[in-house]
Amino acid sequence: MAVRIDRRENQQEMLSTADIALPKAVRRRFEAVIFDWDGTAVPDRQSDATDLRQLVEALCQAGMELILVSGTHVGNIDPQLRARPPGPGHLHLCLNRGSEVFQVDEGGVRLACRRTASPEEDAALTRAAQLTVERLGRQGLPAAIVSQRLNRRKIDLIPEPAWADPPKARLAELVAAVEERLHTHGIPSLAEVVAIASEAGKEAGLRDPRVSSDAKHVEIGLTDKSDSARWALNELWKRGIGAGQVLIAGDEMGPLGGVPGSDSRLLVPDSARATAVSVGVEPGGVPPSVILVPGGPRAFLALLEDQLRRRLEHELPLVDRSPSWLLPVSGFDPQLERVHESLLTLADGKIGTSGAPLVRHPAASPRVLAAGVYAGQGPETELLGCPIWNQLSLPLQEGDRLERQLDLHTGILWQDLENQGRRLTAVGFSSLARPGSAVLRVEGLPPDVIPERLLPPTEDAGAIEVGEIDGQSWVRAVDGDHGVVAAAGDRRYQIGASSRYDRLAAYSADPSGLPAPQSAAEALDEIDRAGFERLLTEQRGAWADRWEAAGVHIAGERDLNLPIRFALFHLMASVGSTGEAAVGARGLTGPAYRGHVFWDSDVFVLPFLAATHPAAARAMLEYRIRRLPAAIARARAEGRKGARFPWESATTGEEVSPTEARDRAGRLLAVRTGLLEEHVVADVAWAAATYADWTGDEAFVRGPGGALLVETARYWASRILIGSDGRGHIPGVIGPDEYHDAVDDNAFTNVMARWNLKRAAAAVAAGTPGASPAEAQQWLQLAATISDGFDTSTHLYEQFSGFFTLEPLIIRDVAPRRPVAADLLLGRERVQRAQVLKQADVLMLHHMVPEEVVPGSLTPNLQFYEPRTAHGSSLSPGIHAALFARAGMLDDALQALHLTARIDLDDLTGTTAGGLHLGSMGSLWQALAFGFAGLRPSADLLCVDPRLPEQWEALTINVRFHGARVRIEIRPDQLLLQADSPLRVGVSAAPAVTVGPAGLVLRRDNGGWEEKL
C-alpha cells in the first residue's frame, strides 16, 4: 500500500437526477437507509428499476445497509428490483406490511423471519374485514374485501375502473375522489373508516389490530410498517448502527384524508434520532420531524447517489450521538490528558492504543501496547512500547479546539480538531474483527502536510528496527529475542477542496520470538484489500455482537448505565479470544503495574468473560496453562508438590513480584506478597472452574483445565500441615487483606484450598486424568481437616489465627471517609496490629465460594467485617456491592456500586493515567450479575435469585450459559427469562424451569416466583 494521490473529481457518473436539490440536513453520510418501495423507490410496480438496482448494489458494496419496506410480497418486489448485492453492506426486504423479512445477497433471496398468524388470528382478521364491509354497507357505501394477504385483509373503498390502479402522482385526486365518495354516504372522513375498521378488529378478537389506509384501501392486519421499522432499527443496532446514522425515506409521511400516511408508521419511537424524508406529493403536508424532498423516486435516487458519492470519495463516517453510548472528552487539559487517554483507549484484545489526540502535545502520551509482550526481566518486566499508528506530525497549539468521543457501541474514536484555523476530523479504530489491525481516516489534512513517519516509536521504547517491504514501511520494537512488528501504509485523496487521508496498520506480536516484518506486511496487504468500508462494517458488527451477548441495562437509573458500558467495553477490549491472553492489572489501557498479571485477572475479570464471551476466558486460562510448568517448577524448588502460581506473573510464569520497593514516602520496604500471597494458586483453579461452570466445556475439564485443578490441589496437599490438634493448617500467608502479612490459617486461603481439593477430587471422580482415585480420596480427607476459623457461637469466621485479639479498631468510625488507604492514614505498623482490613477477606469466600461457607453466615460476617474494612483496594467496593445485595442491604449495595462505577471516570486512585482498573471493572459486573441478579452457574443449571433496589425499574443482563444466549430481565414483580436454546434455570428456591426461545415470565408471589400463565 504505497502512498498515492487519488484525484477523484466528478468521476461518478450521475444519473438523471442532477436537477434535484438536496436539503442540507441530508447532505451528510448515513450508514443505513430504510425506505419505502412503491412511490418512494419506484414510481410504480411496472417501472424499470435498473438505476435503482445498480445503486443498491454499489451502495452495499460500499458498506451501506439498505432495508426496503413494503406492504406487498416478495414476488412483486424481487422481480422488479433484481438486486444481488455482494456486501459488505446488506440488503433486507421487510415485506407484507411488517410480517416478513428477506435477506438478499449474491446467492439470492432468503427468508429471514416471518410472523405467521395463528388459525384464530386468521379467522379474526377475516371476521374484522367482514364486519368493516358490513358497517360501511350499512351506510350505503359499497366496499369489498379484495385480498387476503399474509396477516392482513384489504378492503377497496373505491372499486371503480377509473381508480383501479392509480399512480402515486394522482394521490391528491384519489384522496379527493375517495372523500367525495365517503361524504356521499354520510361518512365524514377516511379517518372514520379507519376507526370503523379498528373497532371491527377489536370486536373480532384482535388484540392490537393494525389498520392503515393508502386512500384507496383500508387494511386490517396483525402487523404494519412500524413492525418493519422496529425490526430494521434493531437489526441495524445489531450491526453497530444507531438510529442517528439512519435515513428513513417514504412518500406518505403526512396525513391522507385525516389518516396518518402509511409511511409515517416507519417513524417509531426508536427512530427519533434518525433523519426522515419524504419524496412524495404529500397533499396534507409532512410532520415537523420529516424533511420534504420533492421529486418522487427521482429524489430518492438522488439521495442514494449522493450517499454513494460520499463513500466513493472517502467521506468520514459519523458516530451515532447516542449519549448513553458515547464517552465524550471536550477540550485539552494538560493536567488530565493522560487520564483522558486511558479512558479513551482503543483495543482489540491484541493491541491497545491510548486515546491521545491525533496531533502532538508534550502533555499527551500516545502509546501502543501489545498483550503479553514484555520487555525486561524479573520485577522490572514491563509491557513493551510498540510503534504508534494514530499520530500525525502536526502540533496541538494554544487556542486549538479539540473534541474526542469514544463510541462504546462500536469501538470507534472520533476526533474533531480546530488546529490553527483549519479543521481536522478523524475516526480511528482497532479492529475487533481482525485483532492487530488499526484504521485511521482523517479529513482536512492540509495538502502540504506530509506525514513523516507512519509508525513513530513510543517515547520510552527500547530497541527499534525499521525497514521497507515492497514500498511498505515497517517498524519493529525489540526486547532481546522477542518483540512486536508493525507495518503501515497510507493514501491521500484530494476531492475538490476536501483532503482525505487513510492510514492502515497491521501488528504482529510474539511474546516468545521475533515476528518477521513479512507477517505484518502480509496482514497489511490483507486489510488493504478489504478496504476501509469493509473494515468499518466488520468493526461495527463485531462490537455489536459482543454487546448482544454481554449487555447490561438498568431501567430507571440515571447515572449508572454509561459507566457500566464503559467498564464492560474495556473488559471486552482488553482480552483476546485466541491463543493465550495475558491480562495485566490495567489490561491494554496503560503501562502501570507493568502489565503484570495478578489474581485480578482470574477472579475479577474472567467471570464476566466466561459468562459472555467464553473464548476470551479460555484464552486467559491458556495463559495460566502454558505457565503450569513454571508453577510446577516453583513448587518443587520450594519443596512442595503440584503447582504454585506466582502472585505477579509476566512472560515466563515465574514470580515477578519484587522483594522490596520504595513506598510513597520513598522509604525502602519489604514486599512479601510474592512470597506469601499463596491464595492465587486456588484463584487460578477457581477461574478454571468458573469457566467450566459457565460453558459446560467438558473437554477443557478433562484436558488442560483438569491439569490446573489437579496440580493446584496437589500443591495444597503438600502445603497443608496437620497439627497436633489433628486439623489442617496453612501457616505464614498473606490473605486478600494485605494489611496483615505472615499470618497463620487465613480463612480465605484455607477455605479456598479446601474448595480446591474438593473440586479437583470431584473432577478426578468425573474422569479428569492426572491423579488416581486414591490421591483424590486423600485430598478429600485432607480437606475435611482444614481449619477454617468458624465459630459456631458467633457464626463468624476468624480472618486468621489471632485476628480477634487484635486492637478492635472500627475504621468506619475512625477514618474521615471511606474508602481510604488505611495504611497511609494510620501507618503500616498500626494497621498490622489492628482489626483493619484493606478489602474483603473472609467475605471474599461468601462471594466466590458461597457453597463452602456455613449457610446463613453472610450477614453476621458482613456486619462484623465491613465496618472494619477500609476498602483501600479498588477491588473492594464492587465485591461489597455484591455482598450487600445478597444480604438484602440494598442501600449499602447501591452506594458501593455507584462508587465502583466511578473509580476510573473520576480518577479516584489518581493513577488512571497509568491505565484503567480492570479488576474493579470486573467487580462492577459481578456486583450486578452475582449480587443484584443473583446469577450462579452450576453443572447443569443457571441459578437466578434477584435483589432489585426499589429505585430501579428493571435490570437486564445478557449472558451465555452452556452455549445458550440468555436474557434475564428483572422487574420488581416480574422476571423474564429467554434463551436461544433450551436450558434449565433455577429461580430462587423454586423448582427449576426450562427456558427457551419463546421465553418465560415469572411473577413474584409470596416472596417466591411463579410462572405466569
Binding site: P323, S324, L326, L327, P328, V329, S330, P334, Q335, L336, R338, V339, H340, L343, A363, A555, E557, R558, D559, N561, L562, P563, F566, A592, Y593, S657, P658, A661, R662, D663, R664, A665, G666, L669, V671, A815, P816, R817, P819, V820, A821, D823, L824, L825, H871, G872, S873, S874, L875, R902, I903, L905, D906, L908, T909, G910, T911, A913, G914, H917
Partner: protein
Amino acid sequence: MKKMKVVAALDNSPVARAVLSTAAAIAELLAARVEAVHVREAGPATTAAAVAEAERTALSLSDGPTAGALVAASDGDDVCALVLGMRAAPAGHRPVGPTAGEVITTVGKPVVVVPEHSALPVRVKSVLIPLDGTASTSAAMERTIEWARDAQLDVHLLHVYEAASLPFFDDQSHHEAPAWSREFRQRHSPRTADVHVQVRTGIPGDVVLAVAHELEAGMIALAWLQELLPERARVVQSVLALSSVPVLLVPASSREREPVSAIAAGREAGQ
C-alpha cells in the same frame, strides 16, 4: 538586554545580613544582580548600611512608610524577586512582622522571606516545593520549578496527604507509588521531568518543615493566594513561623479546577 535584579530589603535588624546573603545566593542562581534598599522610616541606615558595606553592595535609600516603599522598589520590570526579613515579634502570634506582612500580601512577584537565624552564608543547593495538587498551585510554581532546575538545584516536589485527602485506594503499593509519582510529576511539573517527588502524610505545615530539614533543603517555595488571615494560608503561616531556611512565596491565582469532562458526561447520560 537589561540585567534582572533581586531587591534585598535591609533594615537595621539582625536579619539584614541573612537577607543580603540570601539575595546574593538567589541572584547568582538567576544570573541577576542585587540591589539593596533601606527605607528610612525609623531612623538612619545604621545596621543596613554596615551590612551592605561589608558585602560591598551599594545601598539605595528611600523614605517611608516602609511597606509602601518596598512595594514600589519591587515594582520595576527588571525586578525578579524581593528578599526581606521576617521580623516577627518573638512571642507574637503572627509569623511575620506587620511590615513584612503588608509587603508579602501586596507584591505581585516572588518574595523571599528570610528567617533571622539563617545559617550564613546562605547557600541554596536544593529547594522544597510543596504542591497541594491543585491546578492553581501548579501553575504558580511552574516557572519556579523550571528556574530551579535551570539553576541546577535539586528540586523536591512535596505532596502532603491530610487525613481527608488521603488516597481512596492503594492497591499494590510498589506499583501504585511509582505510577502515582510519575503522573504527579507530569501534572505538576510538565516541562521539567528531572525532579524528585516526595509524599508524606500529616499536618502540611509540620510536614513541610520536617521534610525540609530531612532533605536539608536550602529553600522552601510555596504558592499562595497572599491572604494572611488567621484561617487562611495555614501552611504558609506555619512555615514562615518556624522555617530555618528562606521561604520563597509565589503569588497564585484562585483558578478552580474543572472537572474531568468524561465524568460530567457519564453523570448526565442516563438511560
